[in-house]
């Protein structure tokens, strides 16, 4: 059998694969099934990492400011666009194709850009903190719409990619399996970010202030906390994390208009499952949503989206504060 244009490596793999299937079915299949499972788990971790990076910022903002920030995923997408639209090109000009700087600098650049941009809309956050839920929902929804068109205005309407790090990092072959190295990098980075964030929140003075403010910001103020500074810190941290997430995520996907809303829907479920305003909840929730998505894709694809909402509702009914322990962070 002739396969046109496969390239040497490809053709070899194609034949190898056929040979294994034909001559040694029993043993290899067991091994392969284990591998399938491992790759699925690996995928779950990747999905959870991305969701965590979005949801944790959403949670921090809700925790301290009591705002369900519908525009938060737009921060994440702004990070994506910063890199896919501009940043990656700049980085490649500077670093060429050396992989390490291309892995590290884009997320940091994105985080910086997003955090600085969040300063511009900070007065709006200041305005809505303490206002009614409906006002907060509408204004952050308005922001989400504006962000979408800002992306279009600056970077155009076509999907943008920044896949160089993804491609340069290549794939790791385990047996006959290939898994992209970049995704491993994302998982590890998310873990490191979670760890640093945990240390900040639970071991630092500012972290203590943030946690106390999330419990009772008025009292924190009566004890001498500058509320504006606390809120600023909150928005900066949340947007920094979102930018970091966007910069990390984008090389493995493409920046697309309308992405914010897709992520909002998922991040929102993460937050509901994990518990509003809970750090631990973001981790738990991200993981659960990722597992649910993978399972439904295998077993009942029709329920892919419904199932995560059903789980969210069950958790809301049984434990309205979420699985992450609610106010405890």
């Amino acid at each position: 059998m002739h396969i046109a244009g496969l390239g040497k490596h490809g053709e070899k793999a194609w034949y190898q694969y056929k040979l294994i299937r034909v001559y040694n079915p029993r043993e290899t299949i067991d091994m392969l099934e284990i591998m399938d499972l491992l790759v699925r788990i690996y995928n779950i971790f990747f999905g959870a990492s991305v969701l965590f990076l979005i949801a944790v910022g959403l949670n921090i903002i809700y925790g301290v400011m009591k705002i369900v920030n519908l525009a938060h995923p737009a921060f994440f997408v702004l990070g994506c666009y910063t890199i896919a639209g501009t940043g990656m090109g700049v980085m490649i000009n500077i670093f060429g194709s050396s992989i390490i700087p291309l892995l590290i600098t884009p997320p940091l650049l994105a985080a910086f850009v997003v955090a600085v941009s969040s300063l511009l809309i900070f007065p709006l956050f200041l305005f809505i903190s303490g206002k009614g839920d409906e006002v907060q929902l509408l204004i952050t929804y308005g922001l989400l719409l504006i962000f979408e068109d800002i992306f279009r205005l600056i970077w155009g309407s076509e999907p943008l990619r920044a896949s160089q790090p993804f491609e340069l990092a290549g794939s790791l072959s385990i047996g006959e399996y290939l898994i992209p190295v970049y995704n491993i990098y994302v998982i590890i980075s998310a873990l490191v970010i979670a760890l640093i964030l945990w240390i900040f929140l639970f071991k630092s003075k500012s972290g203590l202030l943030l946690r106390a403010s999330s419990m009772d910001i008025e009292m924190a103020a009566a004890l001498g906390a500058n509320v504006k500074k606390v809120l600023l810190l909150t928005v900066l941290i949340a947007s920094f994390l979102a930018g970091l997430g966007g910069g990390l995520f984008i090389p493995s996907a493409s920046a697309m208009l309308g992405m914010s809303v897709e992520f909002l829907v998922l991040a929102f479920v993460v937050v509901v499952i994990g518990g509003l305003g809970s750090f631990l909840g973001s981790l738990v929730g991200a993981f659960i949503v990722s597992v649910l998505r993978t399972i439904t894709l295998i077993l009942f694809p029709e329920l892919e989206l419904a199932l995560i909402y059903i789980v969210a509702i069950i958790i809301l009914t049984l434990k309205p504060e979420g699985l992450g322990g609610g106010k405890k962070w």
């Binding site: 003075k205 203590l208 202030l209 946690r211 106390a212 419990m215 009772d216 008025e218 009292m219 924190a220 103020a221 009566a222 004890l223 001498g224 906390a225 500058n226 509320v227 106010k327 405890k328 962070w329």
Partner: protein, 234 residues
């Protein structure tokens, strides 16, 4: 001296305060008496800066603080213990105190502060590492006062300090207030119970419908039938 003059406050078209005036010296215990809704808590919240009065003056040692945001008033020496204590529930008692010291930039003196607190409330040592949520009412009260003391205030506002406490515990707190007073701190207590107030305070103010209708010594008050009648609510 903490001096409140002619304070007016309006919240959503309702007059909450209509000319409240209070004076507190250092090392003095003053009580503000009034029925529920008379405006005691609102007066406190106006002094702390949670509410923005429409008219009037608030001075700490001849310095006008009415324009300052709450966190700057703390630096000027206003300490506040709200009615429901509002001890942060998910951090430990120690962290509550520690945070207050950090916020008022007294972290370098944290050892002295802890000493002072432990002399006034030795019991606190037993539950320093317990989270606020798991403290009993009396314990919460101690932590709330200790937390406020950690900001090294000149004037301490205690809203309903003795509400819901057993008589023995009330005695315990009376001693504590005495000790705080002896540190040179002016203590203002909002209280609806006339008996307790007259026992603790050297000077009394009576609020009714957002107005100061009486000020003077405990014996003056007990002799003033008119005011006592209002306070009894008849």
């Amino acid at each position: 001296m903490l001096k409140v003059e002619d304070l007016h406050l309006r919240i959503s078209n309702t007059d909450i305060l209509r000319g409240v005036s209070i004076e507190v010296e250092k090392s003095e215990v003053v009580a503000i008496i009034g029925r529920n809704g008379a405006g005691k808590s609102s007066t406190f919240k106006s002094i702390v800066g949670i509410y923005k009065p429409s008219r009037g003056r608030i001075q700490v040692d001849d310095l006008d603080i009415i324009k300052l945001p709450p966190y700057q008033r703390v630096a000027k020496g206003i300490g506040y213990v709200p009615e429901d204590m509002r001890v942060f529930p998910w951090i430990t008692a120690k962290e509550n105190i520690y945070l207050a010291a950090y916020l008022s930039k007294n972290l370098d003196k944290i050892d002295d502060i802890m000493n002072m607190i432990l002399t006034i409330f030795p019991e606190i040592k037993n539950f320093l590492d317990r989270e606020g949520f798991y403290l009993s009412g009396g314990e919460k009260k101690m932590v709330a006062i200790a937390r406020s003391l950690a900001t090294l205030p000149k004037y301490l506002l205690l809203d309903e300090a003795f509400e819901g406490l057993a008589p023995i515990v009330v005695e315990r707190f009376k001693d504590a207030i005495e000790m705080i007073k002896n540190q040179g701190i002016g203590v203002i207590i909002a209280e609806s119970n006339v008996v307790i107030a007259t026992k603790i305070a050297e000077k009394l103010y009576v609020l009714e419908r957002g107005e100061t209708i009486f000020h003077g010594s405990p014996s003056d008050l007990l002799n003033n039938q008119e005011v006592m009648k209002i306070l009894r609510g008849s």
